[in-house]
Symmetry: C2
């Protein structure tokens, strides 16, 4: 692995585990057993390092989801597996990470959310159409509207104004969004699959 | 009817039919057959008149929904009737009304949305709990999270950034939100009721 990728991977892990604010370039250098100068040779500042870390995280997440879809029997199977995977990912992230990124890096947060959005929505539309072909998703839905609605709901999970950290569990919000979403768009055949895979 | 209420009712109708920006105090006075001075004796300016019009609209909407709930067999019946009522209301509102209020009265819009929100969410929680007792809504859901999610989705209908006016029909967004929502939280018994009432 190139040193640049090693720094991105290492700092990502630290941000996810401890939040962003508390992690200094010194701590990253120490953890990776490299000099701080090496980090600065590759990244202008922590902001830039964080940006690449987040992008790498999204690329990885996308690859995992694609892998799940390749190895699933149908769209409902794939969606349920993705829900489980995402719930586990969510559990592994320190709430401080979400807090810090919104509070201290709002511009970066918005930019990445937006970028991720377009990709996510086209993938969702594709998936919904596949589910309609498989007759497990209702053909009355407007796939584009539904894809946007679910993407927007997922964004709410990290929104402190809508779901204050101290009152709501992120996992519980995520699960309520996901399960109700799939059940809502499923046909009778789709609902039987949900029961089957969840039992 | 007192003159103050008459002005609120009359101007509400005009705002809904033609949008807000294009309606002047002169036009309202003419339509109601009163002098502009009478309007200004009751309201400081158009902003204040609009504020009271919106509040009156919300009070009316609330009364209609309460009436529907009183005259329904169960929560699913009531929710489906409310969806139909709201879809019809939405059809009767000039899109300019939504455009104008967000563009020219953003502070008023935010304030009212917020006020309406708290009321709506407590009503929704009450309704969801009733549906759980009736065994037509799944008891695994977190009623508070689900109530917030649906209220937030309804707010998206008027959000130009999420659903640009020229690309999406408000009615279609509304219907996709509502139907998928009810189906998503319904038990098997609830789903049979949806089929029954919708056929």
């Amino acid at each position: 692995m190139e040193i640049r990728d090693k720094i991105i991977l290492g700092s990502s892990k630290m941000f996810i585990k401890f939040g962003i604010r508390s992690i200094t370039m010194d701590m990253i250098a120490e953890q990776l057993g490299i000099s701080k100068r090496t980090i600065y040779e590759n990244f202008t500042d922590k902001n830039e390092l964080l940006k690449y870390s987040l992008e790498a995280g999204m690329v990885e997440q996308k690859a995992v989801v694609e892998e799940i879809f390749k190895n699933s029997e149908n769209v409902i199977d794939a969606m349920l597996k993705t829900i489980k995977h995402n719930a586990n990912t969510l559990k592994s992230i320190n709430p401080l990470f979400f807090f810090d990124i919104q509070k201290y890096y709002p511009e970066l947060y918005k930019l990445l959310i937006k970028k991720n959005d377009r990709q996510k929505i086209s993938r969702l539309i594709e998936m919904l159409n596949k589910g309609i072909q498989e007759k497990i998703i209702r053909n009355e839905i407007n796939v584009e509207i539904v894809a946007i609605l679910i993407a927007e709901q997922f964004k709410m999970i990290g929104n402190q104004e809508i779901f204050p950290e101290d009152k709501f569990s992120k996992i519980e919000i995520f699960e309520n969004i996901s399960i109700n979403f799939i059940r809502g768009i499923a046909t009778e055949k789709g609902l039987s699959l949900i029961e089957k895979y969840n039992s």
